[in-house]
Symmetry: C2
Subunit: 140 residues, 2 copies
């Protein structure tokens, strides 16, 4: 874990380090602020997620889909077979059910997004292999 000072986004608090069972699916330090829990009767959960610079998650799929609302910093989103998309505050990403993807910070910037799980009752995320250094290091 690098010793970056992650700023507050001035929007939602960054929360606590990821819980242990999730941490192995991330390449570095990542913080989670749960806002609306997965067991809400609304059937929709919301969290704020903050990545330290160069931290990204493994390739994964959400059976119920996911929406990202970028709240600060600079980062990347990539779907399997497509080019990575650079993300900044105010950008939104609509991730359809079971689409293989990853997201995370740029090399030189922290990155923060709201994560909306559109239908968490469809099942938990399916975690896959890491994004290789070769793939990630191509991104500026």
């Amino acid at each position: 874990m690098k010793n970056f000072d992650l700023p507050n986004t001035g929007f939602f608090a960054k929360g606590d380090p990821l819980p242990e069972p999730l941490r192995k699916n991330f390449s570095g330090a990542c913080y989670l602020n749960p806002i609306i829990p997965a067991n809400s009767p609304l059937g929709c959960s919301v969290s704020n997620v903050t990545f330290e610079p160069a931290c990204r998650n493994n390739w994964h799929k959400h059976p119920g889909g996911q929406i990202l609302l970028v709240t600060g910093g600079r980062g990347w989103y990539q779907e399997e077979g497509k080019e990575a998309r650079e993300l900044h505050a105010g950008d939104a990403v609509e991730i359809h059910r079971n689409v293989k993807h990853w997201h995370g910070a740029a090399k030189d910037s922290w990155f923060s997004h709201i994560s909306i799980e559109a239908d968490p009752k469809a099942g938990p995320a399916e975690w896959l292999e890491p994004v290789s250094d070769q793939e990630y290091n191509q991104l500026d």
Copy 2:
């Protein structure tokens, strides 16, 4: 419509004035930036909503529930039979299905929130009577 200069929240753009069929349910100017449409296959829609000072919506209910994520300014949320809750950036509100409520700006501040409709397929909002000036003017 008052002539306030609504600042950009620095997060999501404020978008355009509400479309005509919705406008009659609001006491003043309100802006809508649709981010994820209601017909998304995710079954979850997201908008940014910005109220001019003193603008609030009528009492209403969402058959599918709603989540508010406050992105700027100062405003109010009230459920029928309960005290109004003052809202600032970073606050979240979980509104259960068919709960009668209203939300809007404080008298002296614009107000901006992300609106997540958790289950728009459950049906459109049911719009009811305005919040009376007597009720609203009690709020500081």
